[in-house]
Every structure is written in C-alpha cells, then in structure tokens.
C-alpha cells in the first residue's frame, strides 16, 4: 500500500508512566493503536488485537491512545474520557474492553452503568466527566497521532513505524512477528524502507 511521504514514524515514544500499556516493557515488539471508541473499524480491530495478544503473549507490548473524531462520532470524546476516568481508578483496560464490546451504547448513562459495573467510585467518575478533567490528555494523544501521520482510525504503529497494511489477523500477526525477529537479531533501528 502507498504511504504518505512524511510522518510515518511515531513522534511521541511510548512511556510506561504516561501510556496505557499491556505487556512487558522489554517486549521485543510494541504495538501502538490510535483509536476511537465509536469508530466501527476500531470495533472490528478490537477482537483481532485480543487474538494477537493471546498469540504473542509476553513478546508483545500493546499501548492504546485516544484519537476521537467527534465530528463523525458524537459520543467518542465522552467515551474516551470515561476510559481515562476509569484509568485514574486503576480500571483502564476493563473500561476499554467494555466500551469496545458495547460500541453502540456510549451515551452518558451507558458510560455511568459501565463505571458501576467496574465498581468505580461513581461520584468521582461523574465529577471527572462533568469537568472534562481528562480532555487535555485526550487532546495530547490526538495531536501526537496527527503529528505521527494518523489519518484515520484505527492507526497502528509497530516499533514506532506506521503499519500501512491491513490489520486483518494474519497480516498484522505476520508484521508483528517480523518486527519481533528483527528486533532480537538487530538492536538498531530497522532501515526506513517502504514496503
């Protein structure tokens, strides 16, 4: 597939402190997704990521960043804020999963119900959403994506390079496995060749 001539690299490196990460910090492959909770393509990618994670185990680190396109998806920002509010209570991935498993139900009262289901402190959750406490962080995720060449969702980066191929299971797994073997045999950055 074609690539744009600029910005095919992740400009904001994955940070264990800042990012929502699953998998070991020293995994040979890091997969970053820029996603929107209301985007149907992201919804389609969600079970594929799960499958890839199950297959690769501790050889894969996965990070998720917010890229809500509210112009197309009116509930996307609020859903992203709900995930971030859950994160402050240590339940980011549980909320992330609930949101993708219930993509068509992302109204405020749905989000609140998910918070209840996860046993979150609802008072705190409500307050953080009402005051948009996490809006700046979500915008920071979004802009880091724009500057890295994200042009739609979902967008994937494998060890910092944009994955411009399909995210269908076998294609994605092959690309990740290739990166994993490349990373173990050669610790320097891979050459910037276009595929």
């Amino acid at each position: 597939m074609s690539t744009t001539e600029w910005g095919a690299r992740l400009t904001m490196p994955v940070s264990e402190g800042r990012d929502h990460v699953r998998g070991p910090a020293d995994a040979p492959v890091t997969l970053v997704e820029y996603g929107d909770y209301e985007c149907p393509y992201c919804g389609a990618a969600y079970p594929i990521i799960k499958e890839v994670q199950a297959r690769m185990g501790r050889r894969l680190r996965f990070a998720f960043r917010n890229f809500p396109i509210a112009t197309s998806h009116p509930h996307a920002k609020q859903a992203a804020e709900a995930a971030e509010a859950a994160a402050t209570q240590g339940r980011f991935w549980q909320m992330h999963d609930l949101l993708y498993e219930n993509q068509r139900h992302l109204r405020d009262r749905d989000l609140r119900a998910y918070a209840g289901k996860l046993g979150l402190d609802i008072g705190r959750f409500d307050e953080e959403l009402a005051e948009h406490v996490h809006a700046d962080r979500i915008r920071e995720d979004f802009m880091s994506g724009v500057r890295s060449g994200v042009n739609g969702t979902p967008a994937f980066y494998i060890n910092g390079t944009r994955h411009d191929d399909s995210y269908e299971f076998q294609t994605l797994l092959t690309a990740l496995e290739r990166a994993a073997t490349g990373a173990t045999s050669n610790t320097t950055a891979p050459p910037g060749t276009d595929r």
Binding site: T4, W6, I69, S72, V146, G149, V150, N151
Partner: protein, 167 residues
C-alpha cells in the same frame, strides 16, 4: 496572476508561485475567493468528491483540527467539483463548519488553475495547498486519490510560515 495553462509541467504549483485567485460559490448566493483572506494563511484542500469515504474521513479530521489551524490564524477551504447543494447537504450531514467551494461551473476551473484536475475522472486530485498571507504558495502536495494525506504536512507548512499570519 498565474494562468491555468501558463506552464505544462505536471504536479501541483510549486512553492513560490502566486496562488491563482478565483471566486467560487461557497453557499447559495455567496461567493468566496482566496483574496478575501489576504493577510491570513489559507489551506486549500482539494478532494475528489463529496460523500466518498476517504474524503469524509479526511475532512472530519480537518474539522477536528480547526482550533490548531486557528492558532496560525489560517483559513481552511475545501474544494471539489460538486455543486453547492451537494456541498450544503454534505457539510450538514458530516458536521463540517468550514467553507466548501463549488468548482462546478466552469467545471474544475480552480482545480485546473492549481494543476490538480484529473480530466480522465472529471474530478480534482486529492491535493493540499498552504498559501501564505501574501497569496504565495508555500507548500503543495498531491496524495494518491485513495489515501487520506492526514494533516501533519499542513501543520508543518504552517509552522514554517513562522506564525506570520498571527495577529
């Protein structure tokens, strides 16, 4: 002004070229031209057609980025060969709040002037221009029609203008 057929090179007008100024309908009874925004940078986003999936994603992304463009005091204008009524319905349906110019009659006149008309398809290329506050092209880019070019190139071009348009 640069004539539409002044040179025969392929590809978009290069940096340093004076941006052709045309007046196109942007709403029923409302004409818009680049000269209107003199003193501010202008981002021109040529796209092949209203309603096609890639266009919609691309323009939705730009809508999200309007506050970033405003930091540079830049005006975003979308351009396609669709008529004004299609633009109006499209903008309403997709929540787009920036002008869409109808390059409709004579068809593709603006796209031709900017050397991004695809005669074989009867549409424009998917092309981006950043024009400075004095009406000079500072950056141009043509993307493969099916590839959403994103916005990083636009932001880089605006940054390289050095905030000249900011008041």
């Amino acid at each position: 002004m640069t004539s539409a057929r002044a040179n025969h090179r392929t590809g978009p007008l290069p940096p340093g070229t004076e941006a052709p100024d045309l007046e196109l309908l942007s709403a029923p009874g409302r004409k818009t031209s680049i000269a209107e925004f003199q003193g501010r940078p202008v981002i021109l986003a040529f796209y092949p057609a209203d309603w096609s999936p890639v266009c919609s994603d691309q323009l939705a992304l730009y809508q999200e980025l309007l506050p970033e463009f405003q930091r540079f005091n830049a005006q975003l204008l979308g351009v396609s060969v669709d008529g004004i009524w299609s633009h109006l319905a499209f903008a309403r349906d997709r929540n787009l709040r920036f002008p869409l110019l109808a390059d409709f009659e004579p068809k593709g006149e603006m796209a031709r002037a900017y050397q991004v008309y695809r005669a074989e398809d009867g549409t424009s290329e998917r092309a981006l221009y950043v024009i400075d506050s004095k009406g000079i092209v500072r950056w141009s880019y043509v993307s493969p029609a099916s590839v959403n070019p994103g916005a990083d190139g636009i932001l880089r071009a605006l940054e390289s203008l050095g905030m000249e348009g900011a008041s």
